[in-house]
């Protein structure tokens, strides 16, 4: 499937997909800087629950967001199987703590569709688009909305 898109030249978006609990999410790969193993984050006083803390990313201080909590689910356990996806939006970097990274997918932008409006769901405002891959629903995250407030403002 991917190959077909590549050869006929209609591919214009690449997504990094990852798992959170039993759901599949993704982010635009252009905003991903690296993926690193889980390290214990230093908690920040008076921080919102979804801000796990800060970690040392080669000498710079990187805030880490527990994506599960941010999307209204139970917190990620935090063990060796979890990973931190380091993303950059504008000039702001942050780490997203997720259960596991699954795949890199290439698909034409036309296959992304806007999510339907459902007011009851807190998580839905973080979702930029939806698509179907091999019969599974894949959610594309709106990174600017997910990052910590200060970070989003600065970016």
């Amino acid at each position: 499937m991917n190959d077909a898109h590549l050869t006929n030249g209609t591919t214009d978006v690449e997504l990094l997909s990852f798992r959170l609990a039993d759901q599949e999410y993704s982010v635009d790969i252009m905003s991903v800087r690296e993926i690193r193993g889980w390290t214990r984050a230093t908690p920040l006083p008076h921080a919102p629950a979804h801000v796990r803390g800060v970690i040392n990313l080669r000498g710079t201080v990187l805030p880490v967001v527990d994506l599960s909590t941010r999307l209204g689910m139970s917190p990620v356990e935090g063990d060796a199987r979890n990973v931190i996806i380091v993303v950059q939006v504008g000039t702001q970097s942050a780490g997203l703590l997720v259960d596991a990274v699954s795949d890199i997918l290439a698909l034409p932008r036309s296959e992304l569709q806007p999510p339907p409006e459902l007011a009851a769901d807190a998580a839905h405002s973080f979702i930029e688009a939806l698509t179907i891959i091999d019969g599974r629903m894949l959610r594309v995250l709106d990174l600017a909305a997910v990052l910590p407030d200060a970070a989003a403002e600065a970016a």
Partner: protein
């Protein structure tokens, strides 16, 4: 304006302007100190001239106009037609200050500073330059001054001019002369203004139109200049183009000079005959130096001390990387120790050498960020001039240790508190001229601003020779404002320290200068936020001295590493007065949820750090606990409860604001030897927003 390379050039022009302004201030300072030699005056002139030239290229008309008039007056001075009176120097300083304002205004597209006209008119009145002569805004290097031909009076005009053997000039501009925006015509005009000149343009090198490179330089000029001129005058015309042209200056025909007329050239004219140098191609680097004769050594001298301009961001990245290196080295050392490798093994020795290297690299990198305090002191000189004029006092500023280097950020953040202290010294510290004379002191007050390195810190002192702190008055005010009780006994030092209390102002009348509700407490706060301390010493009748002690850099900090609720935190050592272990008698309940500790007769509020940071609920039992006693800005104290004190060490400061935003009570972060991030606390800020809850109330709270 679109995003173009011009913007970059413009930016570098303004950086150059700052440097020129600095050398301008320097030279004026030298003149003020009594050095009236030609070179010093030339430095002043050249700085103003270069700013004018650059400003012209960017069409900054207001700046050009100002610089032009300033320059004209300086030219009078340079030509010796104007006396360098103290009054004139004062005006020159004012003009230099205004020039700085003009440059800033041009850079920021801000409004032109006021009062320029007044200062310029005053200067022009001093120099005798009339406004009419100024009307002509043509950027001629040197204004024509028709006074050189007097000596020729004895001769019958034209015939005699020929009899005076003329100077032979050959002027071959390089392409660089044109690209740097100079115009030979102006130079030739300036020459013609010196004396009658016969100019011949040599076009023999101009190629066919097909082969013509429009940016190359093909023309050269042969000039015969009436001979009764000193050589320096001629060279002066080419002052600003000497490195982008070839200039042959040969003395009048050796056979013919009448014995009395040719002045003695200061520098022997190079004896150059036929010139074989072809017109240089457009890309030619500078011409062989020998041709320019005596001018060559000067450029060689300039080459000795070279500097590079580097983007601050790159240096910060380097600082970060070195910080990372330090951490990595600590981690490596830790794992080597854990592996149980014997102490005298090759690995251990290697590691030791690595540690020393790392420390050296760290020191060197910190030195890159360090800058001399000189520009800061120059700003203060201006403050003194303005402040003393405003209050009608005669003040002399003496600066010492201008070359002392401090971290760039420290310098930037020191400007405001220092300005305040200088203003205070002028306004409150020094007496009025009458009072000074009455006290048998010289009329002029002296403020000494000095910087020096002392045991790993930088000490900056502001000292005045005024009346010193009026302690009874300070005491009286403090009592009146309710800052101390009427019967308090205070030592002299304690009385002096009252000045730092918020809401204190000794000036009986609030002047326009200081006492705008911003007191020494703000100064102290600003300095404390830099990790510094400020102290006063005062000698009644002889003056007072404010001494600021600062860390050399904001990149590292001496901290106490403590453990709270399983987290490692760093508390700046500068804010810790002492540490203590609590006994049963020390802790006293205050309110239903608060405690104070009883310490040598005074009560200090107790804060449970773990609870204040939201890491845990207040533990409730404090006997055996360890507290850090911290000072606040207002001099009050607070006790912070920690679980354990680990060590004292230097930590590398990492900003948190950029990554996350401000957290109350947290100043920054650092990276520990195990690679983990630890937060650096700001105890003053923490206490400010703290609840002080140290006891679990009897009724459990929900949540």
């Amino acid at each position: 304006m679109t995003h173009d390379p011009m913007a970059e050039i413009r930016a570098s022009f303004f950086i150059e302007c700052e440097e020129l302004l600095e050398s301008l201030q320097d030279a004026l300072g030298q003149m003020d100190a009594g050095e009236h030699d030609q070179e010093t005056i030339n430095v002043v002139f050249r700085a103003v001239h270069s700013i004018k030239g650059g400003a012209g290229a960017f069409a900054l008309h207001a700046l050009v106009a100002f610089a032009h008039r300033f320059e004209t007056v300086l030219d009078e001075l340079r030509a010796g037609r104007m006396a360098l009176s103290p009054e004139a120097i004062k005006r020159f300083f004012q003009a230099a200050d205004l020039l700085q304002d003009q440059v800033r205004a041009a850079r920021d597209d801000a409004a032109e500073p006021a009062a320029t006209e007044e200062v310029l008119l005053a200067l022009e009145a001093l120099s005798g330059v009339s406004k009419e002569a100024e009307a002509e805004q043509e950027p001629v290097d040197f204004l024509p001054l028709g006074l050189k031909l007097d000596l020729g009076f004895d001769f019958a005009d034209s015939a005699e001019t020929a009899a005076v053997a003329p100077w032979q000039l050959r002027f071959v501009p390089h392409a660089g002369l044109y690209t740097s925006g100079n115009e030979p015509l102006n130079l030739l005009r300036a020459l013609a203004a010196l004396g009658s000149a016969i100019v011949h343009c040599n076009t023999s090198l101009v190629p066919e139109i097909e082969a013509l490179d429009p940016e190359a330089s093909y023309l050269s000029w042969d000039i015969e200049l009436a001979g009764d001129l000193p050589e320096v005058d001629i060279r002066e015309v080419f002052d600003f183009v000497e490195d982008v042209c070839m200039l042959d200056l040969s003395a009048p025909d050796a056979g013919a000079p009448p014995p009395d007329l040719p002045p003695e050239p200061v520098i022997p004219a190079p004896n150059i005959t036929a010139v074989a140098e072809p017109a240089p191609p457009a890309t030619a680097p500078r011409a062989p130096a020998a041709i320019s004769g005596p001018l060559a050594p000067q450029s060689a001298k300039e080459a000795e001390h070279t500097t590079v301009r580097v983007d601050l961001e790159r240096i910060d990245r380097l600082v970060n990387l070195v910080g990372e290196l330090v951490i990595n080295q600590a981690m490596l050392a830790q794992s080597v120790t854990e592996a149980g490798i014997p102490t005298n093994s090759a690995v251990m020795n290697g590691l030791e050498a690595f540690m020393m290297l790392t420390r050296d690299i760290q020191d060197s990198v910190m030195m890159i960020r360090a800058q001399p305090v000189k520009p800061l002191f120059q700003r203060m000189a201006r403050i003194v001039r303005e402040a003393s004029a405003a209050v009608g006092k005669e003040v002399r500023l003496i600066t010492e240790g201008e070359a002392t280097e401090v971290d760039k950020t420290v310098i930037e953040r020191l400007a405001d508190p220092l300005t305040h202290m200088i203003r205070n010294a002028v306004d409150h510290g020094l007496e009025s001229p009458e009072a000074r004379l009455a006290a048998g002191k010289p009329r002029d007050g002296v403020i000494t601003l000095s910087a020096m390195h002392r045991s790993g810190r930088v000490v900056i002192e502001v000292q005045d020779d005024g009346g010193g702190i009026n302690r009874p008055k300070v005491r009286e005010i403090a009592i009146r404002r309710g800052l101390i009780a009427a019967d308090t006994t205070l030592s002299d030092a304690e009385t002096d320290a009252l000045l730092f209390l918020p809401g204190f102002s000794t000036a009986s009348a609030v002047s326009a200068l200081s006492g705008r509700g911003v007191g020494m407490d703000v100064v102290r706060q600003a300095i404390q936020s830099l990790g510094g301390r400020v102290t006063i010493t005062s000698d009644p009748g002889r003056g007072s001295r404010f001494s600021i002690s600062l860390p050399l850099t904001l990149a590292v900090l001496d901290g106490m590493v403590v453990q709270v609720a399983g987290e490692t935190l760093v508390v700046p050592l500068s804010s810790i007065l002492e540490t203590a272990a609590l006994t049963g008698d020390d802790v006293r309940a205050l309110g239903p949820q608060t405690n104070v500790i009883h310490l040598r007769g005074s009560f200090v509020p107790l804060y449970d750090l773990g609870a204040e940071l939201g890491f845990r609920a207040p533990s409730g039992t404090y006997v055996g606990g360890i507290v850090l006693l911290c000072t606040q800005e207002d001099g009050s104290r607070a006790a912070l409860l920690v679980d354990a004190i680990m060590e004292q060490r230097q930590v590398v400061i990492k900003g948190l604001q950029q990554a996350y935003g401000r957290i109350p009570g947290v100043a920054a972060a650092t990276i520990l030897g195990d690679g983990q991030i630890a937060l650096i606390l700001d105890p003053a800020d923490l206490v400010h927003s703290a609840t002080g809850r140290t006891r679990v109330p009897d009724l459990p709270l929900a949540g």
